[in-house]
Amino acid sequence: MKKGMNEKIKTASRHTNRNEGLIFERSSPHKRAFDLPPLDVPAADPEKALGKIHRSEGVEGFPEVSEIEVLRHFTRLSTWNFAIDLGMYPLGSCTMKYNPRVNELVARLPGIATEHPSQPQELSQGCFKILSLLEKCLLEITGMEAITLQPAAGAQGELTGLLLARAHHQKNGNPRKKVLIPDSAHGTNPATVVIAGYEVENIKSNADGQVDIAKLREQVTEDVAALMLTNPSTLGIFEQQIPEIAEILHSKGALLYMDGANMNALTGVTQPGRMGVDVMHLNLHKTFSTPHGGGGPGAGPVAVKKFLEPFLPIPVLMEKPDGKFALDYQRKESIGRVRAFGGNFGVLVRALAYILAYGPEVRLATEDAVLNANYIRKNLEGVYDLPYKRPSMHEVVFSDAIQKRRGVNTMDIAKRLIDYGFHPYTTAFPLIVPGALMIEPTESESKQECDYFIEAMKDIAEEVEKQPEIVKTAPHTTRVRRLDEVAAARKPILRWKPPEKHSGAAG
């Protein structure tokens, strides 16, 4: 009897117990959520106009709900998410910083959101000024000499950068065969190398987690097109020997590519352009605050030294003598386009808004980011194993070596952290640290948030000693717990299907 009552409560109180189904499961024929203004021209007969390819029926299974149901459905779904607006994401190399809300307003302005890239250039000067100013700012920040804003994300920026390198090598008569990737690199690096038509050659890090100079000297030959270096490394440690690295590469005509994912440690304090970097990409959805949105959109501008400028993707923005801007498509040596239209303009607008808000004071953000990371490092040293002892910049990497002795690993600790109200840090990356806990607080966390995080991590470490089971079976407070990923992969269900009429089973 009582069980029946609870089921009823569960069904009715969806907004409090978060028991929302799929939008398709709320559909009922002829419900509508959207009305169009009446047609002011004669109707056209689809069959007459399109012939046998016209759809005689509506899209099968498409939602049929009302406006309030759509709003409630997605509002309820949103409450199942963690977000920067709610609390800290200590995810290493993701730079989950505050997404300023004014950026959302300016990106939506009529006259900004409404523009079409094929419209006359004289009616696009506002857009060009935005692009030009962003280019200038990013060049100042990176200390590089030319830039493209076209790539849609960091990975696409990496590809663009490697294609630029290839074009340069090709011009010099030898396109070369391989790209060196440190074993601490982010997965997009080797994946990109292959798409660029090169072979991946791994280079092992030394005992300090830095590039092994002796190995580098051996491995750099005239078959090597570039080294893809993340600086600071994915351990959050500055590559001290970058002058030597650059020298070794350049002496054999190879290029130094910098993965700019960790620019949050460098902006305003130094410039990659001074360090011998030939080509680099930036992640605007990291250092430059554009929202992650659950997985994009992002943008991955690529900045280069002058000798690579002729190869930049078309079109290139240029300023004419009369001060107006135009797009230059006549670039014989360009690698071509990497995507249609200009780039993720809406994301570029947000990044510029962020830079304008900070101005020259953007260094303060970098300082606070490094301060937070070091504060957390200092207060968790000894509680968690610190495999690499060099100074940390904006992120710190611990390992689960101490906790492993009690049968608890980094995944378990991460899941328990959820019960304390935080999103997990990055687990199991970089690959050179087995059982890694990669922590990047960013500058957006107050001292209080950092203290809460430190306390939580300390409490969990104590739980590992005193009651490891509670950590191994975490999380305990979420709506769903330890979803079965093995089953999901073994028999993938990747879409909803209407229930079979005969079996009566729910979708």
Binding site: L77, N81, L109, G111, P291, G296, A357, E485
Partner: protein, 448 residues
């Protein structure tokens, strides 16, 4: 600075806790020679009001107040305020990629719904969580076909969007793929005789777009048959996704590569948009990008997780099906909300309005002496006309009436000068259509 939640006193406390005297000491690992002695030369700092003012000024230097007849891969459609209301919820806007499923069920379920909607629309069995846009989705579809067939030749119709073909060429140059372009016939669609001659057993993919760049619907059945007999995969690109509200889905396609911008995303000077890849279940392990799958948790509750991750860069690294990491999740959410609002009846009605307005515009244009329709294949909301004089010159005249005229086809297709690609959507009023037709008629009478 308002984005930094620390007081000077707190900074001092933290420095003391670390055991350093100043923040500069924390940067000691950067060689002295590299450390900047001066602040960067950047504009600002701007207060919030100044940030807004800067962009409002730029907004006034663009095309406000003009009526546009441009399509060519980006379409103006009605968007509900509800979509933005959802998108602006911090839990969606500021959340991370859903690797930690317990903390991202909102995002994951929304992706699952997106994947479902894309399958329903395209008639395919599986769709991913998004690619960057239609142009890269098309390219990745071709790379997928290469992996599936082991072949290296690609045949792509010239009636596919010029910028899409450009992206494909850039990617193909370095992957050993040979891309050949096939001409279009007098109907404005793929020349199937040319296809027949070019098809051999070394072709991995035949790429067509429907409606194509000229707005014309391609005849997919014969093309699919030819491709199949040669063992090649048919990739169908779609730039105007709304057409699927009124047109049969391309079930003949092996892979559909679609641009979803028409579903709730503003033109935004070219991006961000949302690419879609949809295909057969048997090809899923070669699909690029993220996939959300349904599963259950410890207590049997339905939930969603990212799945088949062994295809992806963070697991397989150099053996991944693609290098894609950050995709277009928030844009996919916009499309999901938009389509949920439009619904079964709304999407058809919106498509019908597009068809009606385009037909009406063509009828009116054909009344102007010297204006002829070209390419007689059926069209949805874009069509091609030939004018008695240069389209560029006509467009210059139209600007004086605050009208942005049709796309000049001659720029991308030098062999068809004086051809204009006209796009009309449900957002163009009859009044504006009549104004456009009148202005065009006048423009043709202006002495050159």
């Amino acid at each position: 600075m308002r984005y930094l939640p620390k007081s000077p006193a707190e900074r001092q406390e933290m420095l003391a806790s670390i055991g350093v005297k100043s923040i500069d000491e924390l940067f000691s690992s950067i060689p002295e020679a590299y450390r900047l002695k001066e602040p960067l030369k950047l504009p600002g700092p701007f207060s919030e009001a100044e940030v807004v003012q800067y962009f409002e000024e730029r907004a006034n230097e663009n095309s406000r107040g003009y009526t546009s007849f441009l399509g060519a891969g980006i379409y103006s459609h009605l968007r509900s305020v509800v979509t933005d209301t959802i998108l602006q919820r911090g839990e969606f806007l500021t959340s991370y990629t859903p690797y930690q499923a317990e903390m991202a069920q909102g995002t994951l379920q929304a992706i699952f719904e997106f994947q479902t909607l894309m399958c329903q629309l395209t008639g395919q069995e599986v769709a991913n969580a998004s690619m960057y846009d239609g142009s890269t989705a098309t390219t990745e579809a071709v790379l997928m076909a290469e992996r599936l067939t082991g072949r290296q030749r690609v045949l792509v119709a010239r009636s596919v969007h010029p910028e899409y073909r450009g992206v494909l060429r850039t990617y193909a140059k370095n992957s050993g793929l040979h891309v050949e372009e096939l001409p279009f016939s007098a109907t404005g669609t793929l020349d199937t005789n040319a296809l027949k001659s070019a098809l051999k057993d070394d072709v991995c993919a035949v790429v067509v777009q429907s409606p194509n760049f000229f707005g014309a619907m391609e005849e997919l059945q014969p093309v699919a048959g030819m491709a199949r007999r040669a063992g090649a995969l048919l990739v169908v690109a779609i730039t105007e996704a709304l057409s699927l509200g009124l047109v049969k889905p391309p079930e003949e396609a092996d892979i559909v590569a679609m641009e979803g911008q028409s579903f709730g995303l503003a033109p935004s000077y070219g991006g961000p948009f949302v690419g879609v890849i949809a295909s057969r279940e048997k090809y899923v392990r070669q699909m690029p990008g993220r996939l959300a799958g349904q599963t259950t948790d410890l207590e049997g509750r339905r939930g969603f997780v990212l799945t088949l991750a062994t295809r992806e860069q963070h697991i397989r690294r150099e053996k991944a099906t693609s290098n894609i990491c950050t995709n277009q999740a928030l844009c996919a959410l916009a499309a999901t909300v938009h389509l949920s609002l439009l619904g079964k009846e709304g999407i058809r009605e919106m498509a019908e309005q597009n068809l009606a307005k385009a037909q009406f515009t063509l009828t009116e244009l054909e009344k102007i002496p010297g204006v002829k329709r070209t390419f007689c294949a059926p069209f949805f909301n874009e069509f091609t006309v030939e004018l008695p004089r240069s389209v560029k010159i006509v467009n210059t005249e139209l600007l004086k009436s605050k009208i942005i005229g049709p796309y000049v086809l001659g720029s991308a297709y030098p062999e068809i000068t004086k051809h204009a690609l006209v796009c009309v959507t449900e957002t163009t009023s009859r009044k504006d259509i009549e104004r456009f037709v009148g202005a065009l008629k006048d423009a043709l009478l202006v002495p050159v």
